[in-house]
């Protein structure tokens, strides 16, 4: 069992989910796959289905429209899984905090569904690629 747990840390498959983001963070995520930052060194790769994912990379302040979809994708993800609240908006709703359509940052919405959810925060607008790598590596210690 221990060795399976260890292999978890060496192979993180990430599903990228955009919940009303301004698209800047989404663009920055792609930088991680380029030769300069190459996260495949750590076994991290992007997958196309939440069923295969170990980490959900959630960008954007969650609005009322995106909330049920976000929670649906979270329920579809096999546990244990890590949720990464990505960028200033993901961590705290950012400058959209008091907007009429925003129902809250990622952690507030997620805690309603699953109080034990494991969340990692990566602030920045958008975060630097180094910060993203460090955030995910630190998140592995939570699991």
């Amino acid at each position: 069992m221990n060795i399976l747990k260890k292999s978890f840390k060496k192979s993180i498959w990430v599903f990228h989910l955009s919940t009303a983001a301004c698209n800047n963070c989404d663009i920055e995520v792609l930088e991680l796959l380029t030769p300069r930052y190459d996260v495949e060194r750590f076994g991290i790769k992007l997958v196309g289905s939440p069923r295969h994912a170990d980490a959900l990379l959630v960008c954007g302040a969650v609005n009322a429209h995106a909330k049920p979809r976000f929670l649906e994708v979270y329920r579809q993800t096999p546990k244990p899984c890590l949720v990464v609240a990505f960028g200033s908006c993901g961590c705290s709703s950012g400058i959209f905090r008091d907007s009429y359509s925003i129902v809250g940052p990622v952690d507030k919405v997620l805690k309603e569904e699953d109080p034990d959810a494991k969340i990692v925060y990566i602030p920045g607008c958008p975060p630097k690629p180094e910060a993203m790598i460090e955030g995910i590596i630190k998140g592995l210690e939570v699991i």
Partner: protein, 301 residues
């Protein structure tokens, strides 16, 4: 007892899965180097399988539960059996039986059929699109590959793996003749399609169908599928080595690396084709080339 050892340890399950997972690493590493990246560490394939076994298995509500779990295991078991039959003859452990090359080729088809079953039972519309593509692909690459197998068998005058290898030891490898080279090109493309790799990854098109046929698989079920795919990456080049090379273990290893490099290069230099392009390619160009190879083989070129 002895048969069980062949099936489970050498040259069956354990041996083939270790070699297969190392080949998966080689594939990903070489692809990364082609793109000027560093690439994953050598144990990446093992880590992926271990991680998937650690995860929860989710069975969709619409899915037929026991079949959903059993089908990938079925695929895994038949790939193991196919590799065992191949390698037992290749390493000279046993004589094999008449017609084993046909049995092996159709055992290699069972993982695809299992996948079709999972995709259609999972109740996801994107999976069903993937299923229809997988069925068409299965039909299209089978024709040229069967022609190639029949050429080699008729040259050697027997349908047994041992017989084909012995014929090549006496008369020279098939690949050293013109018909062999043409047939080898056909076979490489068929293997690429059978492994479901770019440019023939239509069934699990990640960016288009969101993993398509595999979309609903999770945890251990996905691990069984990934493992059988890794073992196919060992088994199918082995099949080509027996058909086209057939001599010794050292030459076999070099030939194996050559085939893997060819597969990786095809993967890295091509975009994904459409299903109608793929069918036209296999039923038109590839079948034509296979028939040409058959004529050349008959004329003795």
């Amino acid at each position: 007892m002895k048969l069980l050892f062949y099936y489970l340890v050498f040259p069956g399950f354990l041996f083939a899965s270790v070699i297969g997972l190392l080949t998966v690493w080689l594939d990903r590493k070489v692809s990364a180097r082609v793109q000027w990246r560093y690439g994953p560490p050598w144990y990446q394939g093992f880590a992926d399988i271990g991680k998937l076994l650690y995860k929860e298995v989710i069975i969709p509500e619409e899915a037929f539960g026991s079949g959903f779990i059993a089908a990938p295991l079925f695929g895994l078991a038949s790939v193991t059996l196919a590799i065992t039959i191949l390698c037992v003859s290749f390493f000279g452990i046993s004589e094999g039986f008449i017609g084993d090359i046909i049995v092996v080729w159709y055992l290699f088809a069972i993982p695809a059929i299992a996948l079709i079953y999972i995709g259609s039972t999972s109740g996801n519309p994107l999976s069903s699109v993937g299923v229809s593509r997988e069925i068409k692909l299965l039909l299209s690459y089978d024709l040229p590959m069967v022609i190639v197998i029949v050429i080699m068998a008729s040259k050697a005058g027997t349908f047994s793996i041992k017989g084909i290898m012995e014929w090549q030891m006496v008369n020279g490898s098939n690949i050293s003749n013109w018909y062999g080279i043409i047939a080898f090109v056909v076979a490489i493309f068929c293997v690429q399609a059978k492994l479901g790799r770019v440019p023939f990854d239509l069934a699990e098109a990640e960016t288009e169908l969101g993993s398509g046929i595999l979309l609903e698989l999770s945890g251990g079920v996905l691990a069984a599928y990934e493992l059988s795919k890794a073992m196919m990456l060992f088994g199918l080049p082995m099949f080509l080595i027996i058909l086209f090379w057939g001599k010794g273990i050292v030459g076999g290893v070099l030939m194996y690396l050559l085939i893997i490099v060819l597969l990786v290069l095809i993967k890295n230099t091509n975009p994904r084709v459409r299903i109608d392009h793929a069918m036209r390619f296999f039923w038109g160009w590839m079948s034509g080339a296979a028939v040409l190879a058959a004529i050349l083989a008959h004329l003795g070129a």
